[in-house]
């Protein structure tokens, strides 16, 4: 996945090629604005949706000086123009699959409506997309479930990227456990392991997007995905039904013995050899937290 990087105070803003929307130049008699009022005014001009911009900028001359080379409105546009770019770029880094699926124009419009409803309230842009999957689920579109699940996958990938590194339970350590230990063993996932189930094969789709394979929206088909980070590399593994089932039990805090009992009842076709292979693999990937 792409690594988000905030870079100093660099701006990519350029003034719009067209003149800014006409503004009302009705200047009312006012006193001195407080710092709070000045900040509230500028923030509103910078962040409001386009439909409210004319009103927001109507008293610009009261707040902003005529410039050396630009009028007050054009000076504001440098800040105003940068805001959507920053928001769209940020969510594009975290949700490249959704951005591809929607296309640039629709994605940009959607992001600005989303930001209006869920403005950033954090010092970091890493949290901007927290509500994005749920927002997509509310869309009036036939794609909404697909987009919701794709965004869920992408959000989890972004979050796992920044999770703290904790020691993993190794296969060697697992093998040292006695029969008694196994009975009551609770295997806790590391923060860098996430288990997800989707109604669409969104992991395949994202893989194709990442590799510029220009995928089309796939048909509905369940996909069970384990996200894991190993050696700071992000990985996604497609799980079989039984594998997903037992990991779900374990990630929910169930004892290993009970989880295996439930698995065998529900999926009798899973034999001990396969189960052993799974656990060896999961241990190798380091998806469980080391005890203590």
């Amino acid at each position: 996945m792409a690594e988000r990087e905030v870079v100093s105070n660099a701006k990519g803003a350029v003034l719009p090629s067209r003149s800014p929307a006409p503004v009302r130049r009705e200047v009312r008699e006012t006193g001195i604005q407080t710092l709070r009022e000045q900040q509230a005014w500028l923030q509103n001009v910078v962040t409001c949706v386009p439909g409210r911009l004319v009103e927001a900028m109507s008293n610009t001359p009261q707040f902003i000086k005529e410039g050396y080379g630009l009028d007050p409105e054009s000076r504001l546009w440098i800040y105003r123009g940068m805001f959507p770019i920053r928001m769209v770029e940020s969510l594009q880094v975290d949700f490249p699959g959704v951005a591809y699926a929607l296309g640039a124009e629709v994605f940009e419009e959607l992001v600005m409506n989303y930001v209006e409803e869920h403005p950033s309230s954090s010092w970091t842009l890493n949290h901007l997309g927290l509500h994005f999957p749920a927002y997509l689920a509310k869309m009036k579109s036939r794609q909404r479930i697909f987009l919701h699940h794709l965004a869920l996958l992408e959000l989890n990938l972004a979050q796992v990227f920044d999770e703290p590194e904790v020691s993993a339970l190794t296969p060697e350590r697992l093998q040292t456990l006695s029969a008694g230990d196994w009975e009551n063993l609770v295997l806790e996932p590391r923060p860098t392991s996430r288990l997800l189930k989707f109604d669409y094969p969104v992991s395949h789709y994202l893989h194709q997007v990442d590799n510029d394979l220009e995928p089309r929206r796939p048909a509905k088909a369940y996909q069970r995905v384990l996200i894991l980070r190993k050696g700071f590399q992000m990985n996604r593994v497609i799980l079989p039904e039984g594998g997903y089932f037992i990991l779900k039990e374990l990630f929910a805090g169930k004892k290993l013995a009970k989880a295996i009992d439930k698995l065998v009842t529900r999926y009798p076709e899973v034999g001990p050899t396969e189960l052993q292979r799974w656990f060896h693999q999961w241990g190798d990937w380091g998806i469980f937290r080391a005890p203590g």
Partner: protein, 307 residues
């Protein structure tokens, strides 16, 4: 002639921004650079690869901490959760100071993630001064504020930016990161003299310099950090050196980032300014004339006191 900074912070030489596209080059070659500067928000609260790599690089290089989200000028309450994470990072790399911008990024619980300009008024000066003291008390290291690139001036502005910064750094007892490119950008956009700015800034407060490229759109300049430092800015940097003496200096290149060697060459060019009169040997007369040509803007009343 030179002016010591108030804290006696040593001149650490010449550095560059630590950027992800250069990680592999740095880890493979361990190039000769005096220090790297990081954008603190890229590492705060992360337990993944960024912090792992930073720990490796911090073992071999000095690390400067530079922020973009402190929002020192905001009229919202100070964000102590942010400051806690920042303090952890200060401890991790053993930073002597931490820098951010004279700006605000949002109010009413919102964050625009932009460096919005402060009104240059007495009210704003008192407000920022109060907050700087609170922040420094919490962080237990000096806060070094950077002069921002700005694209608008407030109708209520009362003083020049250099007078504002001089009054602020004195009243709050904080440092100044003099970004030479930002001086140039704002002087171009607002029509003041960049040379006068550098001549009048409180030299004993300056602990650090930034240099970078920008985009000139004719009627205004945007601080894009996506190009080479222009000759006029090198001339201003030389002026800084002649007036203040050596200060730790870094080159910012944050968009369309070229190969490590290209940025490094700009860093070395900054070093060259200390050993030769760049204004004569590299720039020639034309750059200096162009600098002078932007001097005919409006003037601000000087001398404002607070408190």
């Amino acid at each position: 002639m030179s002016i010591q900074n108030k804290w006696g912070f040593p001149d650490l030489g010449f550095g560059m921004g630590l950027r992800t596209v250069h990680y592999s080059h740095i880890l493979e070659h361990w190039p000769k650079v005096d220090f790297f500067e990081i954008i603190v928000e890229n590492y705060m609260g992360s337990g993944g690869r960024p912090i792992y790599l930073l720990e490796q690089i911090a073992e071999r290089y000095k690390i400067m901490l530079h922020g973009v989200s402190l929002s020192v000028g905001s009229t919202d309450p100070v964000d102590f959760e942010y400051l806690k994470l920042l303090k952890n990072l200060i401890g991790l790399v053993k930073a002597q100071w931490v820098s951010d911008h004279l700006c605000w990024t949002g109010i009413l619980g919102r964050n625009t993630h932009d460096l919005l300009p402060m009104p240059l008024t007495e009210e704003s000066l008192e407000h920022v001064s109060r907050r700087v003291k609170i922040i420094q008390d919490f962080l237990e290291v000096p806060l070094v504020l950077e002069n921002p690139s700005t694209y608008l001036e407030w109708a209520q502005d009362q003083i020049s930016e250099w007078d504002y910064l001089n009054a602020l750094t004195a009243s709050a007892d904080c440092g100044l990161l003099l970004d030479v490119n930002n001086v140039y950008v704002s002087s171009y956009n607002h029509g003041f003299s960049a040379q006068e700015y550098i001549q009048k800034i409180a030299g004993e407060r300056v602990v650090y310099h930034h240099l970078s490229g920008h985009s000139n759109n004719g009627t205004y300049i945007v601080d894009t950090h996506d190009d080479y430092v222009i000759d006029e800015v090198w001339a201003l940097y030389t002026q800084c050196f002649q007036r203040l003496g050596g200060r730790s200096t870094m080159v910012e290149w944050d968009a369309d980032i070229p190969a490590f060697e290209v940025v490094h060459a700009e860093v070395m060019k900054a070093a060259g300014c200390r050993t030769q009169n760049l204004s004569e040997q590299i720039l020639g007369e034309s750059s200096l004339r162009r600098l002078g040509a932007r001097e005919a803007g409006p003037r601000m009343p000087s001398e404002v006191k607070i408190g």
